[in-house]
């Protein structure tokens, strides 16, 4: 199909955004005597063709400068932004990680984040992750309240989500409305900031618990829960723990030896020279992000997570979590994020 575009006589010489100006030109064109035509508004149009150096005149300058500023801002945001800052890391995990892990290299390029999944980087359940913490909201559960029954009852999910998780979110918001200085930080930044942890422990606890719970809901699924992961994650588990059974034993042990309230995590340690999967427990509201580890999967072992269904039998709860509830696709997606970050750097 041949092009049916009609090119005006100016198009070859001028950029498209100038065409509007040329329409306005009325009356005789004055020659400033410098080899350029000047319109009545004082703009000069290059007679030598479209080249940056040929632009003179006020409006051209402003436009060009605006374009250059825009280009600079884009550069700052996407390329030069400090690693780990919110700018430029919207699509990535906040841990600066150029992962040298060979397993990332061995596998074909993981799918880029599209924002359509259910992971923390998606926009679907985006009311907690990677947004200014002043806008933190209580996200909906990814499933109905009775979806995980009989393993986790509807009563537990309702209380856990609408009472415990909601209270953390509300308390965090209360503090943030009173004290504006944290408003532009993300939850991830607050968790990683050692000074906030000591100077404002109540804020840290509530923001971290909001994050932890929003992450925990996605670590469970009513359909296809349990089983084993696949892809890079499974290969890494075999490499770093020996076998899936060994890994599961280790993670269950961490969950059971968490003395008091806390969480057990599977995470990816991207610290230089230590790149590998790790299993760790944290106490209270603590989160692996504070230790340079990217969370992939978690299980809540605060008593309120299992007391109504399992009473004191935490081991039964942890077993049931791995047998029936664990959402490996979410963990794989989280690992993909780490890999994708590496690719883009």
């Amino acid at each position: 199909m041949s092009s049916t575009l009609v090119m005006s006589q100016h198009d070859a010489l001028e950029p498209h955004w100038k065409t509007a100006h040329s329409q306005k030109q009325v009356g005789p064109v004055r020659d400033s005597g410098k080899g350029r035509r000047e319109s009545r508004s004082g703009n000069a149009f290059p007679s030598q063709g479209f080249a940056p150096g040929n632009f003179v005149g006020k409006r051209d300058d402003v436009y060009v400068r605006a374009c250059k500023v825009e280009a600079f801002i884009y550069y700052v945001i996407t390329i030069a932004a400090p690693r780990g800052s919110r700018l430029g890391t919207r699509e990535r995990f906040p841990i600066p990680s150029r992962s040298r892990d060979p397993l990332f290299q061995d596998h074909p390029n993981p799918e880029k984040i599209t924002g359509k999944g259910s992971g923390p980087t998606s926009r679907n359940h985006g009311s907690t992750f990677f947004i200014p913490v002043a806008s933190i909201e209580l996200p909906d559960l990814p499933y109905a309240y009775d979806a995980l029954a009989p393993t986790i009852s509807e009563k537990t999910l309702r209380t856990h989500h609408l009472k415990h998780h909601a209270k953390y979110v509300n308390t965090a918001n209360q503090i943030l409305t009173e004290d504006k200085k944290y408003a532009n930080l993300t939850a991830e930044k607050i968790i990683q900031d050692k000074s906030i942890r000591t100077s404002n422990p109540v804020l840290f606890n509530n923001v971290a618990q909001s994050w932890n719970h929003a992450f925990y809901w996605k670590c469970m699924t009513p359909i296809g829960g349990g089983g084993v992961p696949s892809g890079i994650l499974m290969d890494m588990i075999k490499r770093d723990f020996g076998s899936f059974e060994e890994f599961r034993k280790k993670m269950e042990s961490e969950a059971l030896t968490c003395f008091g309230s806390g969480w057990a995590w599977l995470g990816y340690d991207s610290k230089r020279g230590q790149e590998k999967l790790v299993v760790m427990k944290t106490s209270g509201a603590d989160n692996p992000l504070a230790f340079g580890v990217t969370p992939l999967l978690t299980i809540d072992v605060w008593e309120h997570a299992y007391y109504l269904d399992f009473q004191e039998k935490r081991n039964d709860y942890v077993n049931a979590f791995f047998n029936k509830l664990v959402h490996w696709a979410f963990a794989e997606e989280n690992l993909n994020n780490v890999a994708t970050t590496a690719d883009e750097l």
């Binding site: 209380t159 003395f259 008091g260 309230s261 806390g262 209270g284 008593e303 309120h304 007391y307």
Partner: protein, 246 residues
Amino acid sequence: MSSAKQIILSPALRAAVHVHSSKLNPEAAKLAAAYLSSAPSGGKHVLPDLPYDYAALQPAISAETMELHHSKHHNTYVTNLNVALEKLDEAVSTSNVSSIISLQGALKFNGGGHVNHTLFWENLCPKDSAASEFPSSGALKDAVEERFGSFENMKKEVSALSIGVQGSGWGWLGYNAGTGRIEAATCPNQDPLQAATGLIPLLGIDVWEHAYYVDYRNVRPNYVNAIWDVINWDTVEERLVKAKSG
């Protein structure tokens, strides 16, 4: 009972109790739990029996909570403490310093759990019993008024601290031997008060979720407010007098 019978009977009873624990008569469960608490090694520590029935502290604390709390949670601390102590004996006798150090977490947790809960059961009593009324005169009243101004103030302070514990822990009223005054304090997880702060424990309030979740769900303040009805002030005063003299 001869040791042979014990070797056979203990695990059998333990298995039976475990399997049927939800159907057992609470009295029977209570006695069985106390009996079975010692580890197979002969056990150094034993689950103490309660001075009242499981249902005695209602409505502040339900019978179901008391049974779970005493026969399951406290029992587990005692059992695991005995196991950890055995391992410690072995590590000390072989001079395995690494092993000694690695056992500290389990000892602190289970040992603290046993100590704390033993104190806890003793400073509770049925509502409307003679001991549940705060004394109108005596060492305890003087100490409370000197430090907090009034009984109500002391309740408010200890309640606020207990409710404010992040995660699991205990609220305490303790005696500071150095200054001769009583103080309100909290400890995280199962850290025992005296070992962690030097204060001598007078009154403990368990604010782990297992202490109140069945009855109050997430509303810890309701539990803490209700527990003041069942505090055994006689025990608290005894402890204070002993601490002052010792």
